[in-house]
Symmetry: C2
Subunit: 476 residues, 2 copies
């Protein structure tokens, strides 16, 4: 180890000890024959002192802020009156014996803690932005939330199963990202919009409790709470009803909020879709007493959603959630008669006016599935092409099952009081789906394109046109 | 809940109780006026009895094996002499009151436990293959290994950080999968071969301990231990040397083997590359006493690898590991003189003759990085294009750091005694990189291709030609 302590471990307890420390120069003040600087790492800050007689004095003088160094020295009590109560290490300082420069910093493009820095420049120099106290905390917090979520599922006998990233193009609302196959000329994989089909297959396979923190990719136009890729707490359970799933998820959030924030959540209010629309004119009501209070967490459930929504433009019924959502039993017999009246085994969880996710009991009866497809005007042939393998699988003994996909980025952001999920993502994309730091997406050489049997073909304004065809998509 | 107990909870302890159970019909025997069948779920098997007077008798008779049902009944002691010592529930049976069919099974394409079923048909009906005791165990085991790995990193103050899936095409050994951008016509993302560049950026960002179980995608030709996508235990640490990393990883494996298998691993032998080559004629020696013993786990470290390997074909030096591996200090001054003599801060961990992963201390000095690039004949321009953002980032205070990428699928497979990683993957691809179950990769409609500005272009035998250009790739 290059260091004996992290900077979070430097305090009065070790006064008099010789230490080796590593970190970044945070602030630096020269007082003639003495230089004071704060050394910073993930765990804290420590004031260091170097005197002119030290051979590294001139070296430190020349070093820019944010340079990475290693020092050896002794932990001393600070002179009376010079303590800094804002620092955990504020009663001590390190008197430097020697300095080793690990990585010099060039002239910075911006002061790291400056507030008025444009988003684009922060993204380009993401490695500097990530050094801010805010981003250090946010990502550590995200890791803690993931840890608590996993703990909860694992102690409830769920198995974490990895579903594939190279999949069959999916019949979901949004547009798939596609990947040309080299070995299968002219064929393409899709990147998963969610593990939906695969988790249903896992239930048919007898894994009655599956979960994963799944990467989901959707080629949509971006906005504040949308990224080309996001993470979803994805799970599915067999032999349960809607009520069971809602209770389970409620307990999960309760566990996570308590564990990570020390916040005890009460029982989540439950509103039917109709109640919510009547009372709040939205199916994502914000039930906080003070709508601006970012430390108030008001969850609720919305249930009894219609199974179908009427698409005026196309003059046809379409699934409100997705094709695989089960209608409530009492509507099954007559669902063709008045599709608009049919309610689904379908429920949303909402936090502070933001939908965290949708869940449902799925259709496990191939005959019922066919009837639903008819109502939304999907031919057998089309269904077979899109997700025939799933329909086929249900012919071999599918259990009753359901589950949810719960936005993870959104959850973490809301827990920290942010609206923008980019605050809790290490390397987000900008609104043009680019990463200004690595310059992706970028050109590919012709040979590579030839290897995977595609050619670039840019038609005039093609990009403008396609932007329109987006659809409302929901979590699952 | 549709059930009161899982089938693992049925035993003598609850004799006399009324229960509701769900599961699949495993075996079925008709004895005139009585039918016996085993009901199966993830947790166990239970013998059920239904008599002719029961109204569901005829229904059960007609049901195929692997149908999914729910029953209500009473747990009874089995008649003396009919106990089954092989089953945890072998002293009891459930006398059925009523049966509800949840999902009928059609004629099965194969008997689930039959051994001589071709790989391809098992993959096509993966949902049946996954019902076998073997696959149920394997995936649950994989989840337990992942859990133990995460526990170890988290208790050692590592932060789990998600790196992006849509990235800049990477300068690694294998071929990238590429994804056309819709919003940026003619531009492409790559899918990550590993989080290598991003974890180095995270170190520059001050996260001194990062890990993730990362999905890595490589467009290579497939073989037993290679899949288009695999999972890697990926981590990076700042302010450490090679020794620290090796000790840390050794402790990690020790923790995981103890936790999941109850196996206490001894100290891992360490061999220099030269020693290993001399003694075993390989850098992946199998140090088991009995090479066929799948329950013996012989780890070792190989270190002191050459930094460069000479590519005879192309007449030039290339990195043995990757461009970012640091040479050992004593070779730095003269590395241009005799590149073949330079040893790297580079080490491999090997288990039973299989390389689990490579690690190294990275170069954090931009000047040294430039010299290395010169030795391998990479121009500044090329370097800038390929990973300029990383070289740029090191100009702002990069710490000393290193890490490893450790094959996770391979680890799980070896722990269970398999050579083929497909035994521990829920939805693997076949050797043609296809998934026979979902039919991926598949055709994409023209409109979608147009949206993302590409065209299919199949040149004669294009696929044959490209197969050749593969290279030896190593883990990182």
């Amino acid at each position: 180890m290059l260091r004996t302590h992290t900077l979070g471990e430097i305090s009065e307890k070790i006064i008099g000890q010789k230490v080796k420390l590593c970190g970044w120069i945070d602030t630096i003040r020269e007082h003639g024959k003495v230089i004071f600087f704060d050394l910073r790492d993930r765990y804290g800050k420590v004031q260091c002192v170097i005197v002119k007689s030290n051979e590294s004095f001139e070296n430190i003088k020349k070093l820019g802020k944010e340079s990475c160094i290693k020092i050896e020295g002794q932990v001393n009590q600070r002179p009376k009156g010079s303590e800094n109560p804002d620092l955990a290490s504020g009663r001590v300082e390190v008197f430097i014996d020697s300095v080793e420069v690990l990585g010099k910093a060039s002239q910075l493009p911006f002061e790291i803690d400056e507030k008025d820095i444009g988003e684009e420049i922060r993204m380009k120099f993401k490695f500097l932005d990530l050094r801010t106290e805010k981003m250090q905390k946010n990502l550590a917090f995200r890791s803690e939330v993931a840890r608590a979520v996993r703990e909860y599922f694992l102690k409830n006998n769920f198995i974490e199963i990895e579903t594939p990233l190279l999949v069959k193009p999916t019949p979901e609302g949004a547009r798939d990202y596609i990947v040309p196959s080299r070995v299968n000329p002219g064929k393409f994989y899709a990147l998963p919009q969610s593990p939906q089909l695969y988790k249903q297959i896992l239930m048919i396979s007898g894994f009655d409790r599956y979960f994963s923190l799944a990467k989901c990719l959707r080629d949509e136009d971006l906005r504040q709470d949308r990224q080309p890729e996001h993470t979803q707490i994805d799970f599915e359970m067999s032999f349960v009803d809607s009520e069971d799933i809602m209770n389970f998820v409620e307990d999960m959030y309760r566990y996570v909020f308590d564990k990570v924030l020390g916040v005890k959540l009460g029982k989540f209010p439950r509103l039917t879709y109709e109640e919510s629309m009547k009372k709040y004119h939205t199916d994502k009501p914000d039930l906080r007493k003070d709508k601006n209070n970012k430390k108030e967490f008001a969850f609720c459930w919305i249930y009894d959603f219609p199974l179908f929504a009427y698409n005026q433009e196309e003059g046809r019924w379409e699934p409100e959630h997705h094709m695989f959502t089960s209608p409530q039993k009492k509507y099954v017999d007559d669902l063709e008669k008045e599709p608009g009246k049919v309610r689904g085994e379908l429920f949303d969880v909402v936090l502070n006016g933001v939908e965290l996710g949708s869940g449902s009991i799925r259709i496990n009866d191939p005959d019922l599935q066919e009837r639903i497809m008819k109502v939304v005007g999907m031919s057998k042939q089309e269904a077979k092409k899109k997700f025939g393998f799933l329909l086929e699988a249900y012919k071999y003994g599918g259990p009753v099952h359901g589950g949810m996909g719960l936005g993870f980025d959104r959850l973490v952001a809301l827990m920290l009081g942010y609206n923008d999920i980019r605050e809790v993502i290490a390397f987000p994309k900008n609104k043009a789906a680019q990463n200004p730091m690595d310059g992706s997406p970028s050109d590919i050489d012709k040979k590579h394109l030839k290897d995977v049997h595609v050619d670039v073909r840019i038609t005039e304004k093609a990009d403008k046109k396609t932007v329109k065809s987006k659809k409302k998509t929901r979590k699952r």
